[in-house]
Amino acid sequence: MTGTTLWAAVLVASAGCYLLKLAGLSVPASWVEQPWVARFVDFVPAGLLAALVVVQALTTGDRIVVDGRLAGLAVAALALALRAPFIVVLLLAGAAGALVHVVSG
């Protein structure tokens, strides 16, 4: 991807995300309080974040790859279940990933 394309993605997405916020402060509440809109907005993050978790942890390009990232994810899940703070979860996941990399050479 060229630098120009990357910049376009950065700027277009930034402008779009800002307008989504601004729209909320500007539109009548009744427009957004439709039940189907509310449900969509409630569920989009769960679906997308879960997709991003597996894509980031288990894929490289168009292949499914199992490596240290999966160990990091498992450690992160355990830490989250034990209610560890955000930053601790990330540190533990990173440490697990690095450990698997070093051990497996």
């Binding site: 993605a9 402060l25 679906g47 997308l48 997709a51 991003l52 899940a77 990330l90 440490a95």
Partner: protein
């Protein structure tokens, strides 16, 4: 300052600092995805909505196209619209300029803090204090992350690769926990999104599977008669 005001301010700044630190992870993820320092900083300054920023660099990092990356960032950005609708009566920003300024800081954390405050006045204080603290911290730590990430050795890069999915899991986790709103349905949507994304990975261009996971959302979110409120 009244005890209520100082407690609100303390909570807001505390949360802001904790969330701001997390900007390190974003800066590192942006670097790993091939963004330069200015692109990472622009995202934190102009987009300023963590999950969307992670989605954008996550899709780009997986080799996804620019439209797929932008699409996933915007989809995650839609919840800020709903937050802003809820915040409009509380903030009641007068004039175009103030509305434009307030809108930029409407994110998960500022909304949560403002809504939880015991009065409208404290809600506003919580919003602006949390927003200012997170904005400063998030941008500063993005710079630290993106600069610190370049020039790392292989084990550190492996660590970074593991931090990104863990970050998404940490963002997802509170939605799945027992006691959150419709936790059962959220779990089904999450499982559906994960399965759809993995199943499509070999067959579609990178990044498209993430956007396609919204299909699972559309199916689960279809209003059912039995669940319709009267």
């Amino acid at each position: 300052m009244s005890p209520d005001r100082s407690r609100t301010l303390r909570d807001a700044v505390g949360l802001g600092l904790a969330v701001g630190l997390y900007g390190v992870a974003f800066g590192a993820a942006a670097d790993a995805a091939g963004l330069d320092v200015w692109q990472a900083l622009t995202l934190s300054a102009l987009m300023f909505t963590g999950a969307s920023q992670f989605a954008l660099v996550g899709v780009l990092g997986a080799g996804g196209s620019a439209p797929a990356a932008v699409g996933s960032a915007l989809l995650l950005g839609t919840r800020n619209t709903v937050y802003a609708v809820r915040m409009a009566p509380l903030l009641a920003p007068r004039g175009l300029l103030r509305r434009a300024g307030a809108a930029h800081w409407v994110i998960d954390e500022t909304t949560a803090m403002a809504v939880a405050a015991p009065s409208r006045e404290l809600g506003r204080l919580a919003f602006w204090a949390t927003g200012a603290t997170i904005y400063l911290g998030w941008n500063a730590m993005t710079l630290v992350g993106v600069l610190g990430a370049s020039g790392l050795g292989a084990p550190a890069e492996a660590a970074l690769d593991s931090v990104v999915p863990a970050a998404f899991l940490a963002l997802l986790w509170p939605r799945l926990r027992r006691g959150s709103r419709e936790a059962g349905a959220q779990r089904r949507v999450a499982a559906g999104g994960a399965v759809v994304a993995l199943a499509l990975t070999p067959f579609v261009p990178p990044g498209v599977q993430v956007v396609a996971a919204v299909v699972a959302v559309a199916l689960a979110g279809r209003p059912r008669r039995a669940e319709q409120p009267a």
